[in-house]
Amino acid sequence: MSTNAQIKEAMQAWESKYAADFSNERKKEFVTESGIPLKRFYTPLDLEAKGFDFLKDVGFPGDYPMTANITATGYRGKLWEPTQYSGRALPEESNQLWKKMVEAGTNTVYMAYDLPTQLGYDPDHPRAEGEVGRVGFSACSLRDWEIAFDGLDLNKLGLYQVLNGPYLFGLACHMAIAEQQGVSREKLVGIGQNDILKEHIARNLYIFPPRQGLRLVTDSFEFVAKNLPLYYPITVSGVHISASGATPVHDATVMLSNAFSYLQAAVDRGVDIDAVGPHMMFVPCFDHYSFYEEIAKLRACRRIYASVLRERFKAKNPESWKARWYTPQEGSSLHKEQYLNNIVRTSIYVMGAALAGSQTADTRAYDEHFGIPTDEAIIQGLRAQHIVARETGITDVVDPFAGSYFMESLTKEMEERVLEGLAEADKRGGGLACIESGYFRKIIAKDAYQHQRKIERAEFERVGVNIFRSPEKEDKPTKVYRTDPAVERKRIESVQELRRKRDNAKVAKCLKEIKGLAASPESSQNNLFPAVFEAVKAYATIGEICEELRSTWGEFQAPSALT
């Protein structure tokens, strides 16, 4: 067997032999999106240089440090769950679409809400005007859920709700429908986005000041840990961090920093780390255009997360060491020019998400730039997932890149840079301090600007956009989805009818209870969820519940400083 000394000698001979070719490559420098230089070929020498140790750095799937995968069998045991973000304005329309998608091959309803819902406003609130149902499901009461989930069996379906500020409302609705359908809490499968910190950094759909937002998250952790064994009350985001411009190194750093902030808040309240750890999930970023780097990033993040949970948080349950990836495709990775190219981009993304060992995935649709997706476009995305899962054989081997000289070197490099970023955040007072000071926003804005310059100089090549452009005529899909503007009036009438028909004395009592708890200090005794659950079952609306919180805590006003 060749020794490293022999390999080194052979490599030097190779470099001499091909020196002319090396100085004639297509670019002077090949770097990843984060700026990590890529060599043309990797060997055992690179692993030696990085101090790579197989058992310490990779080990075996399912075991610490989880680098290869969080389960021993990967996709041989269970394929990733294919899902597609979707929602239509009216409850009955969402119901129809979700039934269609279940038939097309998914077991998860990944709920896309309209913006008023995401901001905790009823359809008749002044701030909801023009936005009701435009980008998704307008859901302001349990009544809407009853219509939307009529004939959808929660024994068989998981739900993922993209709801952040008002998340407790969504959790309550899910549990209330489950009760109506006779699904036990032990069997209820659900996921909530509920990552309020990323709203304050990147996505900007916050409601309350950060401390109160965090209080609600801890409330949900506490409740889920005690009552819902198959539930994930949070998916900590890397994808939104990337979507606002961050490089892979930075989107991973901020994502992990936020995860640790959430866990620390729970621990500070006295929740056992091993009660919460098994319920953590992430929506990390995977961009098809930084293919190898993104795989290395997710491997590195699995390793870092396992290490921090075991060593810093002292988690004993191996389920707490696992970073679960619900990997979504980023809309900004698709383009409007030559839009059918997006189907190809989506397929590449799915391959990458699978090679990185995602537990669940979701794609954007080829008509991303023209509106919210048509039914056909959504299902096309699902098909991309089915094709990669069933036709390619990628799923036959767990972490096929394990041991690769290149991939292990790059994984180590990503790990080093992310750890550096986390250490820098700690030096600056910790994750929450970096949010409050605008430090994270500043890094992301800088990355965004650099990215734009590289696109404009075609240093980052994008087919149809800055290379291989079409003549001036723009092609667009024959069918584009537009929400019927009449839905706004329908939704307003619906909520006003609900308010007339329900037991308003009961609602008032429930809302008063919520307000009282909100005005009391944060604690396990003052956990808001049970009161929100009662209010939801009494048909209090999302706007009414959030108004109790808004009037008590105030709304978050972002500084408009240009970072």
Binding site: L205, A445, A448, Y449, A558, S560
Partner: protein, 130 residues
């Protein structure tokens, strides 16, 4: 001394994706323009008021949510009503080509759709400032 060109930038309503508008802001600043970014969740009324108060030369909104056929005509109208129809309105974001043309007919100075080079925005502003 030549008066600096003043540009106000904003997001309107619940359209909170601010990556693009911040990139434009930085590019304009780097090109020597004075930029006032008033942030998220503005109404067109608030924006008109702010633009008049700050006496800017240009006001630009990045619209990614499909609300452009309301926002920009309202902005043009609002500035006229406030006696400042001379302030140029710039539109950016996700705007279909035919609607971009219509907006220009309705008084928007120019429309910079997603994918525009930041240099083009700078050049337009410098060419049209008086």
């Amino acid at each position: 001394m030549e008066k600096k060109i003043r540009v106000m930038l904003s997001k309107v309503g619940t359209d909170t994706h601010d990556r693009g508008v911040k990139i434009i802001a930085r590019a304009l600043r780097d090109a020597g323009l004075e930029v006032i970014y008033i942030g998220l969740y503005q109404t067109t009324e608030q924006l008109v008021q702010a633009a008049v108060q700050e006496d800017v030369d240009f006001v630009g909104v990045s619209s990614l949510n499909g609300g452009h056929m309301t926002i920009f005509p309202d902005l043009v109208e609002g500035l006229k009503k406030a006696g400042r129809g001379d302030i140029h309105v710039l539109a950016g974001g996700v705007i279909p080509q035919h609607e971009a043309l219509e907006l220009k007919q309705r008084g928007v100075a120019d429309v910079f759709r997603a994918g525009t080079n930041t240099g083009d925005v700078v050049n337009f502003i410098k060419a049209h400032a008086h």
